[in-house]
Symmetry: D2
Subunit: 140 residues, 4 copies
Amino acid sequence: MNHIDAILNAHPNHARMDSIPGFAAAIAACLDCSIVCHSCADACVAENAIQTLQRCIRLNLDCATICGMTATMLTHAFDPDARVLHAQLRACLAACVACAEECARHAQTYEHCRICAEACHACERACQQVMERLPAMAMA
Amino acid sequence: MNHIDAILNAHPNHARMDSIPGFAAAIAACLDCSIVCHSCADACVAENAIQTLQRCIRLNLDCATICGMTATMLTHAFDPDARVLHAQLRACLAACVACAEECARHAQTYEHCRICAEACHACERACQQVMERLPAMAMA
Amino acid sequence: MNHIDAILNAHPNHARMDSIPGFAAAIAACLDCSIVCHSCADACVAENAIQTLQRCIRLNLDCATICGMTATMLTHAFDPDARVLHAQLRACLAACVACAEECARHAQTYEHCRICAEACHACERACQQVMERLPAMAMA
Amino acid sequence: MNHIDAILNAHPNHARMDSIPGFAAAIAACLDCSIVCHSCADACVAENAIQTLQRCIRLNLDCATICGMTATMLTHAFDPDARVLHAQLRACLAACVACAEECARHAQTYEHCRICAEACHACERACQQVMERLPAMAMA
């Protein structure tokens, strides 16, 4: 049901990306993290102890927004402006790290926070891998 | 790597949703369709015959935006305003139908349009299924 | 500092829109409502009585997302798919009505809810006006 | 009709921000730049010489997305994670600079590109001013 690999392979500039594995995986990880953060925010709002989760809600919402947008920007990566994509991946990493940190503090109490921290870490790793390969692409 | 099912199950109001299967599938289909439409727009912009693809680019961008947002709104579905969610699912269906129609016209020339039409149809079906089950939930 | 009117007038299909006043105003109203709803959600999360504001936070977030996206879609309105734009404006109206209703319940306690209800009503009126003029445009 | 100042003043943590002017202005500039970039992309897609505007369309779309999201994140700034907000403002600056550069190359041919470059520069300046004041806020 997932069409990400297929659509990237069908892009007219697809050859340009053959040396850069990890794009499809990073897009999938960003989408996953985005929706998990949105859901974690909604779950936090529904908890009785919502007052202990204010910072978590805010970081969830920021991380959800940034990750969703980063996924979109990665689809423009066949001819990217390397500076913009780099800066955006850096912001995505910062959001994932901050959100994972805060969610980890509540992970023993709330399963949704435990899962969210896990999705943030996975997204962090996927973005990191793309960032490491970007300079080569930018020079190509 | 996909955490959607897990995070929905960890929501404090999760019991309320047990009679409504299809939410996780609809979220996944919306995310998939959103990113595929973004990528199809980017691929269209890169084609030599871009001038024949203007309408396709616009519908891709609209469908990408609507589907991405519908995924987010479905994560609020544990205590939704049924009118808002209904109207949004209807807009999502309209966008998927229109984008699939246009992409289908180019499907024999461009593989990305063929894949995009397929993802739009899958999203259309997934949203339809949630819509049919919503009234029951709204009354619960 | 606002460039909305200017950029719409600079669009190559701009003549097609001359008979449809209200687009620039609707875009501005959607952007305003979107950001006000985001801010109201953030303010609700910061209130001591956050537990009475759960529904308000969810409707704020939905309305914020829908209005932001509707603004974007209105910029594609020079050659729109009338069905998609209609369905989206309808979803935007539903979100504004639901959010204004809920915010109005807290308007005497929270100034941010009073302001948010006002922005929702303004956005509702602006979208309504565009909807009424769309059929003519769709036929043009 | 613009409610941004009013809603920020109604935030329960509003005192914390009194020493940081420029937030409302930066939010307005981000929203303006976002919608202008969306409209410039749509106008480019409608131009006969669309093939000379491919890079412009991509940068327009990236800048539109980043600016819209930055506006949202600034509404969480009453208790921000300074690292995340900093990284996001940096990405926003990079997007505005890159888009303004590209649009400026077409500014003599296309009025929408001239206006878009102007909106990007205005957004760049507004984000820069907030960034310079952030460290003080982060320490407060």
